[in-house]
Symmetry: C2
Subunit: 157 residues, 2 copies
């Protein structure tokens, strides 16, 4: 079971959360906090994942992004298999401290997505129907920086 706040101080009042100078991240009922990762150069969103307190603490300690893998139920250092480590250049939190935003530089092959693309967000939704029904996807990031099959047998990273 994930730790709820770990080394971090307990969150305070709404005013303290919004205007305070203490970092008191708010983890959800499962002990997780959403983490948005953008490329410090291009500004593109690279990936999105969840952290538990251990992952957030490890990220701050090492300046390399760690997450909590819900499917594997354990701490996950991004790039541990592929070499595509995410080097954290800055870390922000939002108004109520229940989300974090990391600006990173990508190591290894320069790709954040396990499919080999630079970003996980390689497809745009085309607004074909009035309400999203039947909407199609168009690939806008075409290049693959590496072959997942060759690098780690297609294993998720």
């Amino acid at each position: 079971m994930p730790r709820k706040s770990g080394v971090f101080p307990q969150p305070g009042s709404k005013v303290e959360l919004e205007e305070g100078e203490e970092f008191t991240p708010r983890f959800d009922a499962d002990g997780l906090i959403p983490a948005i990762v953008t490329d410090s150069g291009t500004g593109d969103v690279l990936m999105f994942a969840f952290m538990n307190a251990e992952a957030l603490s490890a990220t701050i300690e090492t300046r390399e992004a760690h997450f909590y893998s819900r499917s594997r139920g354990k701490l996950w250092k991004k790039g541990e298999d592929s070499g595509n480590v995410l080097k954290v250049e800055s870390l922000r939190t939002d108004c109520d401290q229940d989300v974090v935003w990391l600006k990173v530089g990508i190591g290894g092959h320069g790709a954040a997505c396990h499919t080999g693309r630079m970003t996980c967000f390689y497809r745009e939704v085309r607004f074909d129907g009035p309400d999203g029904a039947g909407a199609s996807l168009t690939e806008i990031v075409l290049d693959k920086a590496f072959s997942p099959t060759e690098v780690y047998g297609g294993k998720r990273d």
Copy 2:
């Protein structure tokens, strides 16, 4: 209770999710999907919230961002109180279609945060301790574009 997939087709296999051309968003057990919002001009992350199928469908239909308010338990059109509507310029999804990324232009006061700031991510985490314990926050977005108290009595928007 939120609809799980609403008007959207049911998700297919891993290969269909990752390489297919059909938008089949994956909502979690609560019927929600994370939504990252960035500014189409600056690239900054503006806010983060969850959508249910109804909110995602309304967003596609109107090209204005809608979310699901977990605290209020209902559909929430961003800017309905403040006028700070988010006009969607593009919508992407990630490799396994369980996150969406909206690039937007901000209407009204040009601020996405209910505190009056342009972005909800107005504070950076300073790495003071080795593992995040005692980390402090530094405000890096200083300007407030509007006074929440004057605009909507401080009510969350």
